[in-house]
């Protein structure tokens, strides 16, 4: 009887359903999203990871750092609010904080790891670990204590605890070491052509990993002191040893989404309509480089150019290959490390090697002949400030060394440039381990002392 009834109903329904009743509510486009893939290959994930990394390095954090460190000026709208510290709230940087964890970050790096491990692709695994350490390290630099050990395991740890910043830095170092070890085994094929920077070259990734290790050792030096500087020197010696090993983003510029995000934001052509929000005009860096008659000035700035608001057309270009980690930085890390452990004489060698390296043009700069400098902390750090134009690392250098000696715009926050950002509201509201705004520290573990006022 029941079957008959169902049959009768189905017969009535046949007007619109050719397939028959059992399939009316299930199957095909009804229950499976026909619009999106449900899985991907390691290379496809890696392409995303690379774009996510590049976005982390050239997006809002880089703009924030460059404005707070006065390499550029936030002239209008939200950028002006960031520039003078008024517009920075706990809801300003949710997206930037999340990058390291979400799709294109840890979430997909873990998928790469799971897929390449059974294949024995150590090169891919090694590269994946290096990128993971790098991206997480950036969040630790800015937010201090962050979820890491329990992150990206929602069904096990729905509310990941905050690992102390020192512990995250230890994990970053060990992740980088693991990455190096995987790469040194030489097994597998890695991301190959999808890696638009190194083409999957294991040696270049190993050198990058050592420079990153050196960089992150420096981030602990304000607290740890000499051992950190010594470690930085050791790693720097194994790090990127010529400009050919630079990690520089490779933007085709063929369309907006493949163009340098700095250009996208600044673009005098007004593609994003943000033109004029951030300008180079009369920034501290522009004034400083002009003041010391730095020959590189023309690569950086073009005073009076109303199209580019004083940025040099070399830099403000859809295909400008933004340098993230370079031979130059590696040498300057070594210089700072040696200055702190072995004195000015030893430090002068890498410092002036860095200066000399400018004589050869690279994809990210033209050739300039620079005079040698004495290895003072001021000289090393001011040189690094120039080299790390538009690079988030400038903020870490400043927090540690207080160079360049800049006066915070509009008095900063309580007289200083902030040492960290507030935990994003999206994390605070959902993770009870994140303290309320009022209970958050003003500075991170690695940076206890604010920079003293400049005369």
């Amino acid at each position: 009887m029941k079957t008959q009834l169902k049959g009768a109903i189905c017969a009535a329904a046949l007007v619109i359903v050719a397939a028959g009743c059992n399939d009316f509510l299930k199957g095909g486009d009804l229950t499976k999203d026909p619009n999106n893939p449900l899985d991907a290959t390691p290379k496809q994930y890696f392409a995303s990871v690379q774009s996510q990394l590049w976005t982390q390095q050239t997006g809002d954090l880089a703009r924030l750092t460059s404005m707070w460190l006065q390499q550029v000026v936030g002239a209008a709208r939200q950028a002006n609010g960031t520039y003078n510290f008024t517009g920075v709230t706990e809801s300003s940087f949710d997206g930037e904080f999340a990058r390291a964890y979400q799709g294109g970050g840890l979430l997909d790096l873990r998928k790469i790891d799971a897929q390449v491990t059974p294949l024995g692709d150590s090169i891919f695994l090694g590269i994946s670990k290096i990128v993971e350490a790098w991206m997480i390290g950036v969040d630790a630099d800015i937010w201090g204590d962050i979820p890491y050990n329990q992150a990206d395991s929602f069904f096990v740890y729905p509310q990941p605890i905050l690992d102390p910043q020192q512990q995250v830095y230890d994990s970053v170092q060990s992740k980088l070491s693991q990455g190096i070890a995987e790469l040194e085994s030489g097994e597998g094929s890695g991301p190959e052509e999808v890696d638009l920077v190194y083409g999957g070259d294991p040696d270049k990734w190993i050198a990058l990993a050592h420079t990153l290790k050196a960089r992150f050792y420096l981030h602990t030096a304000e607290v740890i002191g000499s051992p950190a500087y010594a470690n930085a020197v050791t790693e720097s010696n194994l790090g990127i040893n010529d400009n050919d090993g630079d990690y520089i983003a490779n933007f085709s510029g063929s369309q907006a989404g493949e163009s340098n995000p700095w250009w996208q934001f600044l673009d005098a052509n007004g593609t994003t309509g943000r033109n004029g929000d951030i300008v180079a005009t009369d920034s501290y860096l522009e004034t400083y480089m002009a003041g010391i008659h730095d020959p590189r000035f023309s690569d950086y700035f073009d005073p009076g150019n109303e199209d580019t608001y004083d940025f040099s057309p070399v830099r403000e270009n859809p295909t400008y290959p933004q340098p993230f980690v370079t031979y130059n930085e590696n040498l300057l890390i070594r210089a700072e490390g040696l200055l702190q452990t072995s004195g000015a004489g030893a430090a002068a060698v890498p410092l002036n090697a860095e200066r000399a390296a400018w004589a050869t043009a690279t994809p990210w700069h033209s050739a300039f002949t620079l005079t040698p400098l004495t290895a003072t902390l001021a000289n090393i750090m001011n040189e690094k400030y120039i080299v790390l134009f538009q690079n988030i690392e400038s903020w870490n250098d400043y927090k540690r060394t207080c160079y360049p000696q800049i006066v915070p715009i509009a008095g900063g926050v309580n007289g200083v440039i902030p040492g960290r950002l507030l935990y994003p509201v999206g994390e605070r509201q959902t993770n009870t381990n994140v303290p309320a705004v009022v209970d958050q520290p003003a500075r991170n573990w690695n940076d206890p002392a604010p920079c003293p006022p400049v005369d």
């Binding site: 359903v17 509510l25 619009n35 979430l107 994003p424």
Partner: protein, 1080 residues
């Protein structure tokens, strides 16, 4: 004698009867006039039926009718003839079917519509006095009188509990309807629209983000309002449960006009309107372009000037331009509908053709919307017990629009920011033939590829092109089979298909994309609906009768959309994809099926107690596997207690009383594909400032995990509503009052529960939120004068709804771009616990919030509540040592866009053939974010910024941030200058809370004067039966304290549930409408 006497009698009888028999050889023509008993006005469209003969006709607008009973059926017998009209009590008369009969009717009004049949569901009807819920029915007259092209907008102010917000005055813009508060946290929260028993799509499709781009209609606007007979609104779950998992936000049941047997009736209705901007944005005219008092000067071609007007005072004699007025003109809308209807006792038809041609208020040729509709509805008695029917509508909509909103190529954004001394009308540089704007006044030669900062509004109007072309067909075929006297079977197979082609194009040198770009969207939507019902009815005794209905519904919805953004125009035109060099394509398709069964039983007891119980069982392909089906019950009781008191004649001081109570549940299906856990869609990584990197670079395909964790066990949301009320009549029904209270609770509300960002996902879809809506609805109508040739009546209605979000699955608030779209960083849409869906953002530091500040005197943290706020009042503004308020970085609720209450008053006079009517609509409360004002402060373009340079004291005389103050600097005068207006006083930098304004308004929404010519000369001279002339005003006056355009506005229109957003929205209009109706 016996026999002869009988013979004589027989002969006499025969003789007497002869004329009657003789007359019976001819058809009987019945003529007459139907008028209102109270006022004597002619009543058009009343149906007049000879009972039992299948002869039906409709009166013309002069109230006259003609019915012909065929000779074969008229043999001098007695017959009952009945006149019926919605809003009036039916009246019957007995006539003799012989010769020419004249029968006039004077109908008594029936304000409570007792005895009228209303549609309450698919295949379901009820008589109004038996309804257990407050179901509102709005008839064609009220729809037509509103002179709105969009049927949704025509519902504004007509019934309590139903709030309508029109997006803007743009031709073809959408109207948002909210019934009894927000029930859900996803989708656009629009009710289900059902036309003649078949659901139709009412979504909004745009080619760009709805905060920018151009206005687009909600698709119910494809209906020609002139084709509508009635609109019935099922407001809550108690009445809408029979629609199950699609009825959470209520159901709008539209019944279109049908033909009636009798002569063919022709009618031509023509309207012509004159539309003007109703409210303007005040702009400053005292200061020149520049910064800090220094006027910007262009020294050479190619100069880029300050975006602000904080220059020196404008010197006398310098021409000043009115940047608001110059972009608007008088718009026009011509609307014509020609209809023919009629039929005979077997077949009836209604045929109409409509053409609406709207030219909007924005100057130039690119602000238009044209809608052509044709409609045929017919039915035929195939056999004695079987009727087949069908109706089909075809719609062709074409529009050209102007870019709006948050968009550097938007009309208002560039126009309002322009410095007062810049002549926008000279928008193409005569030397270089390229766009000039106030930020780029002298373009260099051949510069067609650099942005202008903000586009010149005239360039936006004349050089950009935005079009929409919609073709839609919808309708149904139906069979009604009266199987037996007690069993009736109805079958409906309906379909709704449309294809929508959109083009948004920004010309070369557009500031939003300087190389020029096009957005092409092709979308199509197909819905097929099958509905089978069987209704049995039985009268057990005079005091007990009942019905029983069983039904099945199958529904399939298929949606497809293809979008391509073509970038970099090669030649300046044409605006098509092959003329661009890079393409960003997106495709989306979805398919949803549902299979449902429902049943309803009613019982009528003692002619006073009416019980209804119903249940629906839904299976949707969108439900999760573990919850494949859901039940939706309802039950109601209505007791006409005046009948119990023996007052069945509806006379006397207390003439009618009914008490009703109902409970019902509806649902809301999950969004399609919510069951998929993790998609790997790829895409791009952006920062929210326009810069982004694709996952795919240089041809290497990139895919990454979606931030939304789906849920394979998702189930539909559930709305549970209890409703009770009273319907009362007084003074022989001269006064009627209806009161309704409802208490609704939504449970299992689906929300993307925010989970820690460090989980790698942003959200997880869960059934977990709870929302409560409680409210009152009151309406009262009074007819003080009902004399022939002079009547006056008025009505008031009032409603209040309180929405409270009770649970967000542990979260304090949910702020999700996809869900609460149409909003901005700094004033972003969110659902917050204890509140409604509103905007969140920042405020200044205020008392009573446990906040602390630093002082220059020490390095301690000072809690302001204990140190400064004592006796200063709750929420007093903290003023720091410098005399300024202080930005509070805490994200908090800053606006509640839902009104506290809404009400309307309508009245109409009728003096002889004159009719005067008016509708005043009021919305109390309901915040609107005036982002326009905030931005214009930043640019020194707003009239308010003329106070720059003046010295003011917060809390005393600073005019734009009022209220009590506290703190060390309270009372300290400060100079209000550019740094304030571009700092904490700016909409970009400062707290958004200062630009949240009270959106209270009172509107003279409709007013009209009409006259009907139906004197003898009309037919004699021009062969018509009557001519109606009407002069009407729409939104003639709006009273509000809102500082900007009409507060009835929303940037993204009906695309999202988030309302109350004004960011360079295009303004609203007021109109004068002249209309002529010719009837035959």
């Amino acid at each position: 004698m016996g026999r002869s006497v009988r013979s004589v009698i027989a002969v006499v009888c025969a003789l007497v009867a002869l004329p009657a028999f003789a007359a019976a050889q001819e058809a009987v023509t019945i003529t007459g006039r139907v008028t209102s008993a109270e006022g004597g006005a002619p009543l058009g469209t009343a149906s007049v039926t000879v009972e039992g003969m299948g002869s039906v006709t409709l009166t013309r607008d002069d109230g006259r009718y003609t019915l012909v009973v065929p000779a074969a059926r008229a043999h001098g017998q007695q017959a009952t003839i009945t006149a019926r009209l919605i809003g009036y009590k039916a009246k019957a008369a007995t006539i003799t079917l012989a010769g020419n009969v004249t029968q006039d009717f004077a109908l008594d009004i029936n304000p409570l519509r007792l005895g009228e049949i209303v549609v309450t569901g698919v295949g379901l009807t009820s008589s109004t006095e038996k309804l257990g819920t407050a179901i509102s029915t709005i008839d064609s007259t009220l729809i037509t009188k509103s002179h709105e092209n969009n049927v949704v907008e025509a519902l504004a102010g007509k019934t309590p509990g139903v709030n309508v917000t029109s997006q803007s005055g743009d031709p073809g813009s959408s109207a948002y309807i909210r019934i009894r508060g927000i029930k859900s946290l996803s989708g656009d929260a629009q009710p289900l629209f059902v036309v003649d028993g078949v659901p139709i799509d009412n979504s909004v499709m745009t080619a760009e983000d709805p905060t920018a781009g151009v206005a687009a209609p909600n698709r119910a606007a494809d209906i020609n309002p002139n084709d509508i007979e009635t609109v019935t609104i099922l407001k809550g779950a108690a009445s809408a449960a029979i629609y199950g998992a699609r009825a959470a936000d209520g159901v709008i049941l539209i019944t279109t006009k049908s033909g009636h047997a009798g002569g063919t009736h022709y009618s031509l209705g023509s309207n012509y309107s004159f539309d003007k901007v109703n409210r303007k944005i005040p702009l400053q005219t005292a200061f020149a372009q520049g910064s800090h008092g220094v006027t910007a000067v262009c020294n050479a071609p190619g100069c880029r000037l300050s975006s602000s007007s904080f220059g020196a005072p404008i010197t006398d004699g310098t021409p000043i331009y009115n940047h608001f007025d110059e972009i608007f003109e008088t718009g026009h809308n011509s609307d014509n509908t020609l209809s023919a209807s009629g039929g005979n006792d077997k077949t009836v038809f209604y045929l109409s053709a409509g053409y609406t041609n709207q030219s909007g208020i924005i100057t130039g040729p690119n602000d238009t919307y044209k809608r052509s509709t044709i409609r045929l509805k017919a039915s035929h008695h195939l056999f004695d017990r079987l009727t087949v029917g069908g109706n089909i509508s075809y719609v062709d909509g074409r529009g050209q629009f102007v870019q709006k909103g948050s968009n550097t190529s938007g009309l208002m954004l560039g126009a309002m920011r322009t410095t007062p001394t810049f002549n926008n009308k000279y928008y193409i540089d005569s030397t270089t033939q390229t766009q000039r704007s106030y930020r780029y006044p002298e373009p260099v030669l051949f510069d067609n590829t650099s942005g202008r900062g903000y586009d010149n509004p005239f360039f936006v109007i004349y050089n950009d092109l935005n079009t929409a072309e919609t073709n839609r067909a919808y309708g149904n075929i139906n069979l009604n089979y009266d199987a037996t006297d007690w069993l009736k079977i109805d079958y409906t197979l309906g379909a709704d298909y449309y294809n929508n082609q959109l083009l948004d194009a920004q010309a070369q040198s557009s500031s939003s994309f300087a190389p020029g770009q096009v957005f092409r969207t092709d979308g199509n939507n197909l819905q097929i609906d099958h509905n089978l019902t069987a209704t049995a009815s039985h009268t057990f005794s005079p005091s007990f009768s009942g019905t029983f209905t069983l039904g099945q519904n199958l529904n399939a919805r298929r949606f497809r959309e293809t979008d391509v953004n073509g970038q970099n125009l090669v030649a300046a035109t044409p605006f098509n994809l092959q003329n661009t060099t890079a393409w960003i394509p997106t495709e989306f398709k979805s398919l949803v099926h549902s299979e449902s069964y429902f049943g309803q039983a009613t019982a009528d007891l003692f002619n006073q107690l009416y019980l209804t119980a119903a249940v629906r069982n839904d299976g949707f392909s969108t439900f999760g596997e573990s919850n494949p089906r859901a039940w939706y019950p309802k039950a109601s009781v209505a007791w006409q207690f005046t009948n119990a008191l023996g007052k069945t004649d509806q006379k006397g001081i207390f003439s009618f009383g009914k008490i009703r109570a109902a409970y019902g549940e509806t649902g809301k299906e999950p969004d399609v594909y919510s069951v998929n856990t993790v998609d790997i869609p790829g895409g791009f990584f952006g920062t929210g400032f326009g810069d982004f990197l694709n996952a795919t670079q240089q041809g290497n395909g990139g895919l990454f995990s979606n931030g939304r964790l789906g849920n394979p066990n998702i189930k539909p949301e559930r709305e549970k509503e209890f409703e009770t009320g009273l319907d009362l009549g007084f003074l022989d029904q001269k006064v009627d009052v209806a009161l309704t209270y409802y208490n609704e609770k939504s449970v299992d509300v689906i929300l993307p529960v925010p989970i820690p960002l460090t989980s790698g996902f942003g959200t997880q879809l869960l059934n977990g939120a709870k929302i409560s809506n409680k409210g009152y609805e009151v309406s009262a109508n009074v007819r003080p004068i009902t004399r022939p040739n002079f009547s006056w009546d008025f009505g008031v209605q009032w409603s209040r709804n309180q929405t409270k979000i009770l649970d967000l699955k542990g979260a304090e608030f949910v702020s999700n771009v996809a869900q609460f779209g149409g909003t901005f960083a700094g004033a972003s849409g969110a659902a917050t616990l204890g509140h409604d869906i509103g905007l969140r953002g920042n405020d200044f530091i205020r008392c009573g919030r446990g906040l602390s500040v630093g002082l220059s005197t020490d390095t301690l943290s000072h809690p302001i509540d204990s140190e400064f706020c004592q006796g200063k009042g709750k929420n007093a503004l903290y003023i720091d040592e410098s005399g300024f308020p202080v930005f509070d970085p805490t994200d908090r609720v800053i606006s509640d866009p839902d009104p506290h209450w809404t009400g309307s008053i309508r009245t109409s006079f009728h003096i002889s053939k004159f009719q005067v009517s008016a509708l005043v609509d009021h919305k109390q409360g309901g915040d609107v974010w005036n982002g326009t004002r905030g931005a214009l402060y930043n640019f020194g373009a707003h009239k308010d910024t003329e106070i720059r340079g003046g010295t003011y004291t917060f809390g005393t005389d600073y005019p734009y941030l009022k209220g009590a103050v506290a703190g060390p600097g309270a009372g300290t005068p400060v100079v209000i200058d550019q740094s304030w207006f571009q700092g904490d006083g700016s909409g970009f930098v400062g707290p958004s809370s200062q630009f949240i304004e009270d959106g209270t308004y009172t509107k003279l929404r409709e007013v009209s004067v009409a006259y009907t010519f139906d004197g003898k000369w009309v037919p004699n001279l021009i062969g018509l039966t009557s001519i109606d002339l009407r002069l009407a005003g729409r939104n003639l006056a709006t009273w509000t304290k809102y500082k900007g355009i009409d507060p009835e506005t929303n940037l993204a229109g009906a695309a999202f549930a988030t309302q109350g957003v004004d960011y360079f929205n295009n303004p609203q209009t007021r109109s004068i409408v002249v209309s002529v109706g010719l009837n035959r």
